[in-house]
């Protein structure tokens, strides 16, 4: 009796630990840091024909989240459109100069501007943002849409 009292019934934790590590590994692999740049509260336009285009990470991008009032949100913070785009253009020009010595000020910037605008954003506000980008020598634009209406 006294011997059985001392023998503690210890569960074998090894399979549980294995399973938990597998789950941790799964979540670590699927975590998406790019998603932080996206404002998921925006309702993007729906176009059935739009397909994702993979640039294989070779292209520099800046993501502009534009809400219905034309405000620019970057990583959850509201930014002044002109200041932000001018700063990004300067950085992109510096990168381009370091990669290609022949790059001159005023040349087309290699960075792609990803526009994520709410579908109810008036054209006037959107066009102001696009014009500011064009004045800062951004030429490549990617307009984001979704294939089907999201359920929230």
């Amino acid at each position: 009796m006294s011997a059985s009292m001392h023998d503690g019934a210890e569960p074998n934790l090894t399979p549980m630990l294995d399973m938990v590590f597998q789950l941790v590994t799964f979540f670590m692999l699927v975590i998406n840091f790019k998603g932080a740049a996206m404002d998921l509260s925006l309702k993007l336009p729906v176009l059935g024909s739009a397909r994702p285009l993979d640039t294989k990470g070779k292209e520099d991008v800046i993501v502009l989240n534009i809400d219905q009032e034309g405000h620019l949100n970057v990583y959850g913070k509201q930014q002044d459109v002109r200041q932000y785009i001018t700063k990004e253009a300067r950085l992109s020009a510096m990168n381009a100069t370091s990669r290609n010595a022949a790059f001159k000020s005023g040349d087309e910037l290699p960075t792609m501007v990803v526009v994520r605008a709410d579908k109810a954003t008036p054209f006037k506000l959107l066009n102001e943002v696009i014009d500011t980008c064009r004045k800062n020598n951004f030429r490549k634009f990617s307009l984001k849409v979704v294939n089907r209406e999201e359920r929230r």
Partner: protein, 171 residues
Amino acid sequence: MRRKRKKRDSESVELNLAAMLDMAFQLLTFFILTFRPAPIEGQLVLQLPPPLPVTDVETQQQEQTGSGGGEAGLKSLIITVDADSGGNVSSLKVGFGMLFKGPANESNLHKLDQRLRDAFTLYAGSFEQVLIRAAPALHYGELMRIVDVCMQQKLADGTNLQKVSFAELAE
């Protein structure tokens, strides 16, 4: 001496897995709580020309449709889109001709597709880009439906049209 060694061999070393399991569960909780799968987004890639000051839109339109000059020296096909107070398309012109009045529904977008296809095949090489002149109130979602139709057009060299630029109509 011999006896001692025997005793040490029989003692099994047991790791305390509980602490490691606690830590693993904490990591798991963190990843589960922060897990938010990114939505699958499509994109339309555009190559916009550098901005040029526009003094007279009507003159520019005549220049662009007539002599093939215009913005950044590209021959442009001009689409004029008007909007109602709700930001929806109310009418659409291709060049100077009215294509439709009313919303950008399936049948009207099909008409637009047909007209653009005709323009890009019958006058192959006449146009290098599409210039969309839109009303300030037009919603981005509505504009994208028109851009989408434009992007499906093929140029004379067989490549898809990528050069689409925008201008704002006077209020």
